[in-house]
Symmetry: C2
Subunit: 318 residues, 2 copies
């Protein structure tokens, strides 16, 4: 009888796999290179052969697999099973669900990778049992996922949770989405780098940072008391706190989870963030709210993808 | 056998009642004055005697009533059944659910009035069958309700959907919530009045509007081409569009419904609002979205309150 779910997290360079039980225990994981050539047309057959190979080597018969969940970095329509647009993969109007279902002969469920990272933390990580959770991933850009009433919020275009594209600065920095002043141009690692370069135009401000410093160096310097670094971190956490306070007014979550590379800065990030947040937030909306860091790291995606399939197949109650 | 639900909409001056079938047909409605004296301590007994009287007069036996839903203008914790704070009623940390259940000997479910107005429009009004809907009510202030995956979003403090307290202007106008720059200080009837008074300080701008003009007069004057009125409407719809675009990025609804007194301005409100919105919104999030006006008017609350009880009692599927 079927008892395992395959969770897949498709990324621009690596595709991660996990075999999980329907109750969320990870019994194996591996990864392969993502071949994005030819608009990613070969990815699905690579996924198929990789699963077959892993199952053969680990003596997992096909009959043990109940279904497959897949997270994709882009706009994904769970309802229609289509990937609207995933620029780093090459998929545009791509019927991912039906393509994989045909190849694997298993039920397949798809969603956005940041949504599923949130679902992973909700199922087996930092937000376990919190029925309303906001997860933000601070990496190169800012990803987000919203869990409400025990399910992931997707929306008809699959753009729900795109907190990185929250507009914060009128006529601000140009974003990759084509608009001006999106949050991720100020707070993600690319945003911090842009702030650094802006500030370094005034050489008097520069201390231990220079043009080649990375986002994580900025946090390190801030921790060591560097004035410019603290100014950049202060500005970034101000914008992020503003967005979180407005998000909290709309959803009233119980938990805000911070993940992604920049979350390694821990208290250097969290302390100014929470200080700004407390000044912005509607008091009543803050009463039952707490902040936390993600716990599943790079595995959040495969947990969340497995959760999606387990949930849609009826293994997880509301 | 039980077949009716009582929907109650408690307001600062009037409490509205409706008797609805579990499938949403309204078979009777009435209203009474809300006695807010003594911190609203007598409201529940007035509700009880009013229901008893109506049922006696209309020959509805108690056995026909399945349950009661109540909407309250304030922060309501549906889970604990407590009204956290309803300033216009006088209830603070008030156990509304248990008080009414004891008096009525019926299951009672409570929620925020704007959330339930949204649920009413979702059940029997302008957003029928739209599984993800945002409703905004433009009255004296700005109320909001969010429907996702077929249920109302409430949050542990009951503050979800409080879109009127979305911060739009740094160090802006002082709001009744104690913070600065909340949306409702710029776009609701009180906000439009504040904008008018601000602008009238410069007498050259004044045309057919004066200090005593109401919000609806501003829309009327705008329609007739009054420059000042158009400037005020343009400013208000700019802020509202900014908030809606950011809200849409967060949860990607299918429908935005506009209700409340100011929605009477129809196209004079909607046309500049949508124009600003199209400039702000993330293209992908706008693909499956449409705007509409509320259809249930002042009855939205009793429909939504009935929906809440019918839903929680299992009469409505997901």
């Amino acid at each position: 009888m079927a008892e395992y779910i395959v969770g897949i997290d498709v990324g621009g360079t690596t595709t991660k796999f996990g075999i999980l039980t329907t109750t969320g225990e990870n019994i194996g994981k591996w990864k392969i290179h993502t071949h994005t050539e030819n608009d990613g047309k070969n990815i699905c057959s690579h996924i198929k052969s990789s699963i077959q190979e892993y199952c053969r080597e680990n003596q997992i018969p096909k009959s043990k697999l109940a279904g497959v969940g897949v997270g994709v970095p882009g706009f994904v329509e769970e309802g229609s099973g289509m990937v609207n647009n995933a620029v780093n993969i090459g998929w545009k109007d791509y019927p991912l669900q039906s393509t994989l279902e045909e190849l694997l002969d298993l039920p397949v469920f798809i969603n956005n990778d940041a949504n599923l990272a949130a679902a992973g933390e909700y199922w087996q990580g930092a937000a376990k049992m919190e029925t309303s959770t906001l997860c933000i991933t601070l990496g190169t850009g800012v990803g987000g996922g919203v869990i409400l009433n025990g399910d992931v919020v997707t929306g008809p275009s699959g753009t729900a949770g795109e907190i990185g594209h929250f507009l914060v600065v009128p006529h601000g920095r140009i974003c990759t989405c084509g608009r001006e002043g999106c949050l991720e141009e100020y707070v993600a690692s690319k945003g911090l780098r842009r702030s650094l370069l802006d500030h370094l135009r005034n050489p008097a401000e520069s201390t231990q940072l220079d043009k080649s410093s990375e986002a994580i160096d900025i946090f390190k310097a801030a921790e060591e008391g560097d004035r410019l670094a603290n100014r950049i971190v202060n500005e970034a956490t101000y914008y992020l706190a503003y967005v979180l306070a407005n998000t909290v007014v709309l959803f009233n979550p119980e938990k805000i989870i911070i993940g992604g590379g920049m979350s390694a800065a821990k208290e250097t990030l969290l302390q100014p963030l929470v200080a700004h947040f407390k000044r912005f937030v509607l008091t009543e909306a803050d009463q039952h709210l707490s902040f936390g860091f993600a716990q599943l790291g790079n595995d959040a995606g495969i947990y969340g993808a497995s959760w999606l399939a387990a949930k849609r197949l009826g293994y997880i109650d509301d």
